[in-house]
Symmetry: C2
Subunit: 222 residues, 2 copies
Amino acid sequence: MWQLFQFPLCPFSRKVRLLLGEKGVGYDLVRESPWLRRDEFLDMNPAGQTPVVAGEGGITLIHSQAICEYFEETCPRPPMIVGSATERAEIRRLVALFDETVHNEVVAPLMSERMLKRIVLRTSPDAKALREAMKIANTHLDYVDWLLDHRRWLAGAVLSLADLAAAAQISVADYLGGIDWRGHERTKEWYAALKSRPSFRPLLSERMEIVTPPPHYDKVDF
Amino acid sequence: MWQLFQFPLCPFSRKVRLLLGEKGVGYDLVRESPWLRRDEFLDMNPAGQTPVVAGEGGITLIHSQAICEYFEETCPRPPMIVGSATERAEIRRLVALFDETVHNEVVAPLMSERMLKRIVLRTSPDAKALREAMKIANTHLDYVDWLLDHRRWLAGAVLSLADLAAAAQISVADYLGGIDWRGHERTKEWYAALKSRPSFRPLLSERMEIVTPPPHYDKVDF
Ligand SMILES: N[C@@H](CCC(=O)N[C@@H](CS)C(=O)NCC(=O)O)C(=O)O
Ligand SMILES: N[C@@H](CCC(=O)N[C@@H](CS)C(=O)NCC(=O)O)C(=O)O
């Protein structure tokens, strides 16, 4: 059985979990708090980051995108990086947009202000940084609205890793109270459809210690 | 013919150029300075970042890793994400280590202090930020030394995209005077071997306006 080293609010681990869920690959969760910089974890991944997937025969997979590509290659059904080479490039562009731009501008500041400061540093959040992150979140949701005006799913006609990567980042931002859904009807419908998938249910029911999500967080109808 | 939108010191464009060079794919360079936020460029890539590759038939490829995966799929010879699924995961882990960790901790601060402040902001660099970046560069080179004590190339027995990604980031840091090669003999030999490859020669001969590299920068024997 695969082991996934993660913590409940790691968006990159959520992306991997959604992919494994869609493909029906079983795994055990191992709780890892990368900010503790545990020696045994650093031996496994010198970068000290979650997610890490460990398997039988001493296989260690590191970095969410390397992990997703691995399972796409070894468990190709249903395909999540799907289509022609050009369509696959569009999926990977969008995955990177959420993993990098949306993460750095929105999710990382929210995690730092509302999770790490609370759990690790025990200081209060910076209201200005939070406001800025939520403002940028709004412009990214505008872009998702626009994509969904042109396409059924984010990268095209079928569900792909782009949707999973986007939902992973958005769900962590939503848990941390960083998403104002008003005026984003298209994105809300798309997110409701994802929330009701069996791959998403276990994620929505988990809680991070101390930090509580808003009441709408785990509701499919929100 | 493909067009690659880039500027001489963009490490992600260098990774793409090295890959295209190794695969013998022809392309024209189009100079793009993303900090100018040119409207036509933002229409092409809403993220506003280089590299972008544009091709016949209106294909637009965005994000260096999406671009590399595209050419790996469409021009598989010689393979650069090579080997079994596990070996490919190790290549992608190392690519991400250089594109993300090494870039953020070393190359991005060097570019900001020694290139953007010079060309765009016309202010002087922050000596403390530069010292810190060079100190971290040294610990990353220690890790490369260690990898090369165990493997012929970074990810294993054969040249792969991991070597190209690493050389791309290191070459930009080296151009900006951020690499102290003393004590890194193994990495130096590996880098000399890469520097002498035909795919690398054109990159080393190009210059960014105003910013001059140290004399050893383009020498294979350094
Ligand atoms: N791009 C990496 C990012 C991984 C990442 O940033 N993980 C965070 C948790 S969400 C982490 O471990 N941070 C601790 C650290 O960087 O030291 C991936 O996709 O796997
Ligand atoms: N992870 C992206 C990074 C691209 C990137 O950061 N490009 C820089 C130039 S080296 C850029 O365009 N920066 C301008 C900006 O971010 O606004 C990739 O691999 O393509």
